[in-house]
């Protein structure tokens, strides 16, 4: 099983009821990322205000993992501190690339720990990371 069923439900929940989905104005930067292996796509916008992430809005298509991951990202990043949200991206990346060996820190990752089980499937890691990488990219560009 990819993860405990509680977490599966959480992923499904986010998939069926994505948080903050849709592209919104105003935004600083828009990026478009594709996972060529499975065709998943995401268009993502960020709006920063000083040290804060004011909004993360997105539109995309793909499997439940990639869609739910975008929803969870929105939940965790929108309204949070920029530095903190980037740390969270790093923690999530580490978890995903950890082949199931990295113990997720629920304090840092919140609902994103639901994806822990994905880390055991190299082919799925990119699905989970798609929107997170897009977010990191967008933040870097809006700061750069």
């Amino acid at each position: 099983m990819i993860a405990e069923s509680m977490y599966q439900e959480l992923i499904l929940e986010h998939y069926k009821n994505p948080q903050g989905k849709g592209l919104r104005e105003p935004y600083d930067v828009e990026v478009h990322h594709v996972n060529p292996t499975c065709g998943d796509e995401v268009t993502l916008r960020v709006r920063l205000a000083g040290d804060k992430v004011e909004d993360v809005s997105y539109e995309g298509q793909g499997c439940s993992i990639s869609q739910a991951a975008a929803s969870v990202l929105h939940e965790l990043a929108a309204g949070s501190d920029v530095r903190e949200s980037l740390d969270r991206v790093d923690a999530f990346t580490e978890l995903m690339q950890g082949r199931g060996k990295v113990e997720p820190d629920e304090d840092v990752l919140g609902d994103a720990v639901a994806f822990a089980g994905v880390a055991k499937f190299p082919a799925r890691v990119k699905c989970a990371l798609l929107s997170w990488m897009a977010f990191k990219d967008a933040v870097a560009r809006s700061q750069g």
Partner: protein, 420 residues
């Protein structure tokens, strides 16, 4: 033997993993044999026994264990040769997998050291493959084209998932040096008829390679009957272990080909200045070969032969017919590949409307212990051809049952409920 009824329940008992309980108490429904097959205990046991009682390096050792190991290794070559009706055991080269076998063939072309005209390749020359190939029968040829400046061309695929040979004469032209095609597609299940291609290749003097990775495990294959010059297949898909593949090639071609990997065992005489090479198959088996893996593959050939490849093929055809009908009932299911159980194997790839294959696979596994493969199955160009990024694939083998197909269909209905 082939007249006996096919006793799938008895066969299943030979595969310990099939009765394994998965975490959460799920039982296993293994529908991913096209990816890799499971191993009967006869194979596992042959390997264990060899490791614990007869192991040594082969060829060069002159002691009792060395002789036993050499005998076991070379017996495996006999078994594989017999399994595909090779005219000579010396035409069987052990590689690490089918991919290495195909690369070995590709690297024989355009080698500046080689003088045989058939293997000369450069700008203006042509390599022909198809759009339904596995990446292992695409990338080696792309790399070859890049190294040599030759041109890579390919057959298209029809909407029904058959090889489109309408442009045969133009595609395989006088400049063509090599044509490399799957005998059976790992996505569509399509079994390609080789005779028109071989016939045309002969006319223009091109050589023909067949990727039989998905064919040799599932039907009787007689290498000579195919008319091909090279045939690649792989141990782990035919009840054998990982770490071993096979290249069959006509003896005369193996002789004409330059060495690929250099090292111990493939040589005749080495000085610092230069070397001469052993005759095939040794010439292409540099270094310590997959000894224990050969023993396992030999045992796999014995196992499959004891059941009978014709019987296995018949069983799979029955399963395929059953599965095609059963899947046709699933709403929103689009089959990619032939819809009739003719000239096709037991590989069933499909999409479910509105649901990503990743999600199909995850729910099937999570809730029912059903193992299918999802993605592009190392055949991305074929998926692009059908305008889809990925499919769900159920691939069946001798140990699968109609009950398991029913389970799959039930699982798909559930998937549709979850994501509905």
């Amino acid at each position: 033997m082939t007249d006996q009824p096919f006793d799938v329940e008895r066969i299943r008992k030979d595969f310990p993993i099939l009765s394994r309980e998965l975490p959460g108490g799920r039982s296993l429904t293994y529908l991913d044999s096209g990816n890799s097959s499971q191993k009967p205990r006869q194979v596992v046991e042959a390997m264990r026994e060899h490791l614990e009682a007869h192991y040594a390096n082969v060829g060069r050792a002159l002691h009792t264990l060395g002789s036993e190991a050499t005998e076991a290794y070379e017996d495996a070559r006999d078994k594989v040769a017999a399994f595909v009706s090779a005219p000579s055991r010396d035409e069987i080269v052990f590689t690490k997998n089918a991919s290495e076998a195909l690369n070995l063939v590709a690297y024989s072309f355009g080698n500046p050291v080689n003088t045989d005209e058939r293997f000369r390749l450069g700008p203006g020359d042509r390599i022909v493959i198809s759009e339904m190939e596995h990446h292992s029968n695409i990338v080696p040829w792309q790399l070859l084209a890049q190294r040599t400046g030759a041109e890579l061309r390919w057959f298209g695929v029809t909407d029904e998932g058959r090889l489109d040979i309408s442009g045969l004469e133009e595609l395989i032209d006088e400049r063509t040096k090599i044509v490399s095609i799957a005998l059976q597609s790992n996505v569509l299940g399509t079994i390609n008829s080789t005779s028109p291609i071989v016939g045309r290749a002969r006319e223009v003097g091109a050589l023909v390679a067949l990727d039989a990775s998905q064919a040799v495990p599932h039907m009787p294959v007689d290498v000579t009957e195919t008319g091909a010059d090279f045939i690649a297949f792989t141990g782990h898909k035919m009840c054998g272990p990982t770490g071993i593949g096979v290249l069959w090639a006509r003896a005369e071609l193996l002789e004409a080909m330059p060495p690929f990997l250099g090292g111990g065992e493939m040589i005749e005489l080495v000085t610092m200045e230069s070397s001469t090479y052993a005759p095939a198959p040794a010439k292409f088996e540099a270094g310590t070969p997959p000894i224990v893996e050969a023993v396992g593959l030999g045992a796999a050939c014995d196992y499959l032969s004891s059941i009978g490849m014709a019987a296995i093929k018949r069983h799979e055809r029955e399963l395929t017919a059953y599965a095609l009908d059963a899947l046709a009932e699933v709403p929103g299911l689009r089959l990619i590949g032939p819809r009739i159980p003719i000239a096709r194997g037991a590989t069933l790839s499909f999409t479910l409307k509105g649901i990503h294959p990743h999600d199909v696979g995850q729910i099937l596994d999570d809730e029912f212990g059903i193992a299918v493969r999802v993605g592009h199955h190392c055949a991305r160009p074929l998926h692009l051809r059908f305008g889809i990024p990925a499919t769900t694939r159920a691939s069946l083998y001798l140990y699968n049952t109609t009950d398991e197909i029913d389970a799959l269909v039930r699982g798909l209905h559930h998937v549709q409920k979850v994501f509905g």
